[in-house]
């Protein structure tokens, strides 16, 4: 692994990030809108109050001036103020991020583990009843719209059975602290997490299944069998290890989407994370908030892609030697 290789990848990522930064500004300034007028319709505002609000939202001056100010501020990690709450965008994103990382992170790990196991199991026994069941099952949950799946689970488990709460992250009436509070949060997380896991699991299962099918034609499996290894040993020691490589890239990219991946599901379950923040901001539209969120989401994808690219040579010596 050469320094040049790593430097090239890092520079590429930085260039992409810079492009996103510029694009992001103009994307959101295309929409002409006056938040002061929208927010304060029906209010007796003095002209001084109006000017002050316009200044607070950073909307005075020409587009170019606004752009320089935006660049300057963004580099200082200041993403502006939300039109909707008048709070710094960074604070709002920072406050919502942990909930999303917990929810989508757990769902991604669950679906990754289950999906890969399902893919191995289905691919190795291609064409059997088990393969058909796992493949069609994961295709079904993968192609189902996640907000719809969420509503179905909510109606069945929360309303019909009363097993889980209908939304939120904790019971507001409870004074519980420590472990008890964490358990309550887990209980609230169960349904949205299940929804997301069901939605994601198919992707992992199908990718893993097809890479298992790819390696099954390889000579080294024939050799392994010729050595007299048991079927499960051939699978675990030779097939799975090689077939995992394509999944690694998928996993890395999926972690990049952990931050942005759950807009619909967070909304269905009133889960106070970045997805819900995005949905709320779209309704405004709260442009500075959207601008900040898009920047953070893009940055996350770029960073995890970079990690995947840098890690790949360690996992696959063939890339290293090319």
């Amino acid at each position: 692994l050469s320094v040049r290789f790593a430097a090239g990848k890092i520079l590429g990522a930085l260039a992409t990030l810079a492009f996103v930064l510029v694009f992001n500004f103009f994307l959101f300034r295309v929409v002409e809108s006056n938040p002061v007028a929208t927010l304060y319709r029906g209010r007796n505002l003095t002209d001084a109050q109006r000017d002050e609000l316009t200044r607070q939202f950073g909307l005075e001056g020409s587009k170019l001036e606004q752009f320089w100010r935006y660049l300057e501020q963004t580099l200082q990690l200041n993403l502006g103020r939300s039109y909707a709450t008048n709070q710094p965008v960074v604070d709002e994103i920072w406050a919502a991020a942990p909930q999303t990382v917990a929810l989508v992170g757990v769902a991604t790990v669950l679906s990754m583990v289950f999906g890969i196991l399902m893919g191995i199991s289905a691919g190795w026994r291609r064409g059997t009843a088990r393969d058909r069941l796992l493949t069609s099952g994961s295709m079904t949950t993968w192609s189902t719209p996640d907000f719809w799946l969420g509503m179905i689970l909510l109606t069945f488990f929360a309303v019909r059975l009363g097993l889980f709460p209908t939304g939120g992250i904790e019971d507001p009436a409870s004074n519980a602290t420590g472990l008890e509070r964490r358990l309550d949060q887990l209980w609230h997380m169960a349904l949205p997490c299940l929804t997301l896991a069901l939605a994601y699991v198919g992707e992992f299962a199908l990718v893993m299944r097809s890479s298992i099918l790819d390696v099954m034609r390889e000579d080294y499996l024939t050799l392994a069998r010729a050595k007299g290894l048991r079927d499960s040993q051939v699978r675990d020691r030779h097939a799975v290890r090689n077939a995992l490589l394509p999944s690694t890239a998928l996993i890395a990219i999926n972690f990049g989407f952990v931050l942005s991946g759950a807009i619909a599901v967070e909304t269905v379950f009133s889960w106070p994370g970045l997805g819900l923040l995005t949905y709320e901001s779209l309704r405004g539209p709260d442009l500075p908030m959207l601008q900040g969120l898009f920047l953070v989401f893009s940055a996350a994808v770029i960073v995890f892609n970079l990690i995947a690219e840098l890690a790949y040579p360690f996992l696959d010596p063939r890339v290293r030697h090319k």
């Binding site: 002409e32 809108s33 006056n34 002061v36 007028a37 929208t38 304060y40 319709r41 029906g42 209010r43 007796n44 505002l45 003095t46 109050q49 109006r50 909707a84 709450t85 008048n86 919502a96 583990v113 289950f114 196991l117 399902m118 191995i120 199991s121 509503m151 909510l154 109606t155 929360a158 309303v159 059975l161 009363g162 097993l163 889980f164 709460p165 209908t166 939304g167 939120g168 904790e170 019971d171 507001p172 009436a173 409870s174 519980a176 008890e180 358990l183 309550d184 887990l186 209980w187 169960a190 499960s232 675990d236 967070e266 269905v268 379950f269 009133s270 819900l276 949905y279 709320e280 539209p285």
Partner: protein, 596 residues
């Protein structure tokens, strides 16, 4: 690794963990009486100088008592923190506070707090106070007496519904900082005080033992924010919440027929209107920067024909699914007594033949027989603006333009979000659109919006206006000034009725329907829900929120939170099935290995 086995074991571990957590949660109930209200809008700010959303007003209604209260039935002014008030000339009012008033933190609540709030709010132009206090000066002459003097004759007095803030908390906050004050101090004079606000999730209020009506029967109110209105309805049905505000229209009929749930269409003056751009050159504006309405709209007869072509009953039935009532004159107040009763002669009833007749008589003929009438030789095509942010905007447009077509008027559509539409309307770049208003209790603000001075003429700021119809009627303005200084309530109401009838006849602003607040509550846990105003109003988010201090818990009322017995059975069943599956799998597996 044996994939399938691992799968099953992991699934079981997850299931067991969930079962455990559910069990743990089921035990956390206690004896507090908690009212949980579901809503779809979070607070914007608990700070009375900043917040402006309906949800924030509900918080302040509970946290802050006011000098005078509003009657639940008809908003009549009643004693609040002040037990009495009197005036000799209608400009200077003396309020006597109740004895022994205290803030929730034990600090005495005195005339000083009242005078401090009024004077500071006036000087610093606090957002939610300015309209009431702009002309007032307050002086605390002793601990229980406040003298409030108005610079002008003000018919709104003695009503003093500004939120009085605790001086001992606010005097430490400078004018520069007050906009950023988080206002989580929880010092209350009303029935509840704010204890906790989890942004985007809920806010929690505890009862205030020092409330002047005495401690209320509820220990805690929790306002839970749902981002998914259907989930809120589900939570109401499952008993997770006791009441819900802003129920989606699609769920309303179902809730109306659900046993144990009462669904409420709460009217408090809100309405949808069709505006016709009728700006006729007064007051003058820079024509190079503004757009003009279609010239036919400046003809009263043309507008009257449109008014006759709108079937409000059909709009309520088909667009609003029957939720609302057909509009008449504009409602300037939450109190329907301010709406004039229109005589049959003044009323523009739905009659397409009559509308066509008016247009024929006025000379708008369809000379080329294409179905569209002409104005100065050109087909009449009106620019109809649609609001992307309202689900009703498109269906309204479809019905309205359908009727217009039947009287020979064509339309084109443009769609805008609300921010854009404010500017588009300010620039006069439209002929028609539908929007809505929700008025305050006093009719003054709503009436003030249609003066000549509120027509958009400021080319540097197209949002600096209220009068979107653009009609400038000096007679209306004169009546506005008159009602604004008329101290006799009956006289004032009569002037307002005349104004509104005149405004209606101008046919620039066609009220289509009322827009009620859709709410629902469970009947098994609390009783004493109060509608404000009586019979037609909402039970929550009303003008002074009387329900909360009226509610009492029903003994042995339905359970809250935790697990139902059917749920426990289901969990146990799921666990048993899981275990059986694993057992079967392991046994089968072993025999396979043996066979191998």
């Amino acid at each position: 690794v044996k994939p399938v086995k691992l799968l099953v074991v992991t699934a079981l571990v997850v299931l067991a963990a969930l079962g455990l957590t559910a069990g743990a949660t089921a035990q956390s109930d206690d004896d507090r009486v908690v009212l949980t209200v579901g809503l779809t809008q979070d607070l914007d700010s608990p700070n009375v100088t900043v917040g402006e959303l309906v949800s924030s007003y509900e918080l302040w209604n509970l946290q802050f008592a006011t000098l005078t209260d509003k009657a639940a039935a008809d908003f009549a002014t009643e004693p609040g923190l002040a037990e009495s008030y009197a005036s000799d000339d209608g400009k200077t009012w003396t309020y006597t506070l109740r004895e022994g008033l205290e803030w929730s933190d034990g600090t005495p609540l005195t005339a000083e707090d009242v005078a401090y709030t009024i004077n500071r709010a006036r000087d610093e132009e606090w957002l939610n106070h300015t309209a009431t206090v702009a002309n007032l000066t307050a002086e605390a002459t002793d601990a229980r007496t406040v003298v409030i003097t108005s610079k002008v004759d003000d018919p709104k007095l003695p009503t003093m519904d500004v939120y009085i803030v605790p001086k001992h908390v606010y005097e430490d906050i400078s004018a520069d900082e007050i906009g950023n004050y988080p206002a989580l101090d929880g010092v209350a004079s009303g029935p509840f005080s704010l204890k906790e606000w989890k942004k985007g999730q809920f806010w929690r209020m505890e009862s205030n033992p020092s409330f002047w009506r005495g401690q209320v029967a509820i220990d805690e109110v929790i306002f839970r924010v749902f981002r998914n209105a259907d989930a809120m309805v589900a939570a109401l049905k499952s008993g997770e919440i006791d009441a819900a505000h802003n129920v989606p229209a699609a769920s309303f009929p179902e809730l109306e027929t659900t046993e144990g749930i009462v669904a409420v269409q709460g009217e408090q003056g809100g309405f949808d209107y069709l505006v016709l751009n009728s700006y006729a050159g007064k007051p003058p504006r820079d024509t190079s920067k503004f757009d003009a309405p279609h010239p036919a709209l400046l003809d009263l007869r043309f507008r009257q024909a449109i008014a006759h072509a709108i079937n409000k009953e059909t709009l309520v039935e088909r667009v609003l699914s029957g939720l609302g009532t057909p509009g008449t004159a504009m409602s300037p107040s939450a109190n329907p007594a301010w709406i004039p009763v229109l005589s049959a002669e003044d009323d523009y009833e739905f009659d397409l033949a009559k509308a066509n007749q008016i247009l024929d008589d006025a000379g708008y003929a369809d000379s080329n027989g294409d179905g569209i009438r002409e104005h100065e030789g050109e087909n009449i095509v009106l620019r109809y603006a649609i609001r992307s942010e309202s689900e009703y905007s498109k269906p309204y447009a479809e019905f309205i333009t359908g009727w217009l077509e039947e009287i020979g008027i064509d339309s084109t559509f443009s769609t805008y979000d609300d921010g854009q539409l404010i500017e588009v309307a300010g620039r006069g770049d439209f002929d028609l659109y539908v929007w809505g208003w929700t008025p305050f209790v006093d009719p003054d603000p709503m009436l003030s919006y249609f003066q000549c001075s509120q027509v958009s003429v400021d080319a540097s700021d197209f949002s600096n206006y209220y009068n979107d119809t653009g009609i400038c009627d000096p007679a209306y303005d004169a009546m506005y000034t008159q009602q604004n200084t008329e101290l006799d309530p009956e006289q004032r109401q009569s002037i307002v009725h005349d104004m509104l009838t005149r405004f209606y006849k101008g046919a620039g602003y066609i009220v289509l329907a009322t827009s009620p607040d859709l709410q629902a509550y469970r009947t098994d846990r609390f009783e004493g829900w109060v509608r404000q105003p009586a019979e037609i109003g909402p039970v929550l988010f009303s003008n002074s929120s009387p329900s909360y201090w009226n509610l009492t818990p029903i003994e042995g009322g339905g359970s809250e939170g935790g697990l139902s017995s059917s749920a426990i059975v289901a969990l146990a069943l799921a666990g048993a099935i899981g275990l059986a599956l694993v057992g079967w799998y392991l046994v089968r597996r072993r025999t396979v290995e043996e066979r191998e």
